[in-house]
Symmetry: C2
């Protein structure tokens, strides 16, 4: 049987990512493919690095996109920095801290877990206690913005504590980059990874990373080889490094990088602080509407990410039915809960290009419509006015 | 300083890949992004799997694209199949056999190298001798189509020998897939990886792979965890597997997969045998022209790949100057030699969408022009007629 071309419907993506992609990014990806060693392409790579330094707010020379999704960015940090026997303290307050543990153990490292409640920020005191009890720890890892819960942690304080105990710091910024304040240089984060499909409004498939000089020093002086050939930064640096002469390592995903370049130009033109403010403004409008409907947030206000809103599913409401009706009747995707949060929360993303007044109103209207049809206990007719009031305040 | 949007020039890509991408593929990639768990997207994933089975000529259930370039596809095969202490026989006849060795050793395996001359096919007798001398070997790995030299090896015979000694077979089909005969099922290859940016005429960034039931059995019964979390097929199968319910593993590169889907539809519509014949036809035309110019092929005729033509650089000709003039004056990219072949050969690709009469004529005209201007010893005015004669024969 012959298979025909694929023509996807036009959804509105307000889950935990991928989020709506800017049409400018989609168009950029369809430009003519160049060779991965073409001088014109190499010059574009340098621009991507410069733009990523701006997005991360860092001067780190080793700032580049890994040629694979965020999970591979996470793995890049761990396989390059962890050697067999190394002790790594991991602060876990959601799904992705657990994935860090998997990474450490697969590198032959020893993971010491510091657990916090899901939906809450990481407690700096618990980290300090763990460091006191594990003086031989070499690395501290935590998730800056937990995609599974929508909680933001105080990365600056956590990094400061880690450095006091001579540890390098690995942070997950998959959801925070370009959506809420993140200052890699000022906060002294040694290794950080993100994704392109969230607040950068790019398609999924690349993982921006950045490494401090101390991290690069650690990588260069490893006793053992990095276990992944594909992710070995000693080799990748030969291609993405500062030299005019680039050594072939792997074939870069050329057109995906065009998309990332365009997404970063859009961010540069808007200005990072303006992007953060825009995410906050629309989050507040969504919040007004959600609360006017009688629904509640999971994360305490001070620890909430504006770009990822975890909403408690009201008692007796069929999670899957709601999401399925939103998708089929409204072409709207919101996210399910992940791990321990499955069935208990919805995750509503307001990320990058998707973070705009139209989407706030669409989401509130659609959610109210579906919940009312399912006879869920929500207040009718209040949400839009509340959101509009907030937007116009 | 503000950085503007990137607008690449329109090149003709006749190197070892990326090759020219079909406009249909570029357009497909710019279609609206879907969520990676959207039922419409999941249905498309099933089509990609079915189309890849056709391209690989296999019924293997575990046939899918890895969410990263060909190098990651290679690593997927090795990290999943090799356990610490496992002995792997690697037949090396070019650069990529050496990369296999790196992979085996980083997995804690023992690589036994069987060396053949670069530019020649792998010698089956040498493999058999190595297997006799290493009865404890568990895997045989070889490159079907060496991208660094343009030589094709007899994969069917090599696999047959390997199986006689109870070894699983890993093959590199990065350059062969869709360009010259490859029959994964009939030839009983247990694990194979390829790339999207060569004869599939898709952008770089994905790596189609396929695993036999025996390979899947080996993966499921491993004693140790796969060292890569991102590439662990035990986890990836939960997302790409046969169940209607797909478990989140990593965020798939949605739009890149639209491109691959379209490239595979194009291949299906042309027919695999027709695609192989088209590559052979244009290779013969290019060969006629190249030889009429007085240039010579590196690989003996019987071992030559049609889609990748390694041409000896005439004595005294400045390799880099030629490639640079082709790029600047003709917007034509051809490939340099790699590894031991650097400075000694040019690699001219005739891959997928780029494998057409127009490109054969362009390449011959441009090469002759540049070589004549550089006063290289080539015959003038013969190549185009020879190629045209071959095309019209």
């Amino acid at each position: 049987m012959k298979i025909g071309s694929f023509h996807p419907p036009q959804r509105t993506l307000m889950g935990p990512g991928p989020s709506d992609v800017s049409p400018r990014v989609l168009e950029a990806m369809s430009r003519p493919t160049l060779g991965h060693l073409d001088p014109v392409f190499v010059a574009m790579m340098d621009e991507v690095k410069a733009l990523l330094k701006y997005a991360f707010q860092t001067g780190n020379e080793l700032t580049m996109p890994v040629s694979a999704p965020g999970s591979a960015g996470m793995e890049t940090c761990f396989v390059n920095l962890v050697e067999p026997g190394d002790k790594v303290i991991i602060c876990q307050n959601g799904v992705f801290g657990g994935r860090m543990k998997e990474n450490v153990e697969r590198c032959g490292g020893i993971a010491v877990m510091v657990q916090d409640e899901w939906g809450r920020a990481v407690d700096p005191q618990k980290l300090e206690d763990a460091l006191k009890a594990n003086r031989d720890a070499k690395i501290v890892a935590f998730v800056h913005a937990e995609t599974s819960t929508g909680a933001v942690s105080d990365a600056k304080t956590l990094a400061e504590i880690a450095h006091r105990y001579d540890c390098l710091v690995i942070a997950d910024a998959v959801t925070s980059l370009a959506g809420s304040p993140l200052k890699v240089g000022e906060w002294k984060i040694d290794a950080i990874y993100s994704g392109t499909q969230k607040c950068l409004s790019c398609t999924p498939g690349l993982s921006p990373v950045s490494f401090s000089d101390a991290a690069v020093e650690r990588i260069k002086s490893r006793k053992s080889k990095v276990q992944s050939w594909f992710l070995d930064l000693n080799l990748v640096m030969g291609y993405w490094g500062g030299n005019a002469k680039r050594a072939y390592h792997h074939t870069a995903p050329i057109n995906a990088l065009y998309g990332l370049h365009e997404a970063l130009v859009i961010l540069q033109d808007e200005g990072l602080e303006n992007a953060w403010a825009r995410h906050r403004k629309h989050h507040l409008a969504l919040r007004s509407g959600i609360e006017a409907m009688g629904l509640a947030f999971v994360v305490p206000e001070a620890e909430r990410l504006p770009q990822l809103n975890a909403i408690a599913i009201p008692e007796g409401v069929d999670d899957a039915a709601v999401r399925s009706m939103l998708l089929s009747d409204w072409q709207l995707e919101i996210g399910a809960g992940l791990g321990a949060m499955a069935g208990k929360v919805w995750r509503i993303g307001l990320m990058g290009h998707a973070c705009n007044p139209r989407n706030v109103l669409l989401c509130l209207s659609a959610l109210e419509d579906v919940l009312v049809r399912l006879k869920a206990p929500v207040k009718r007719g209040e949400a839009l006015a509340a959101a509009t009031g907030s937007l116009m305040a």
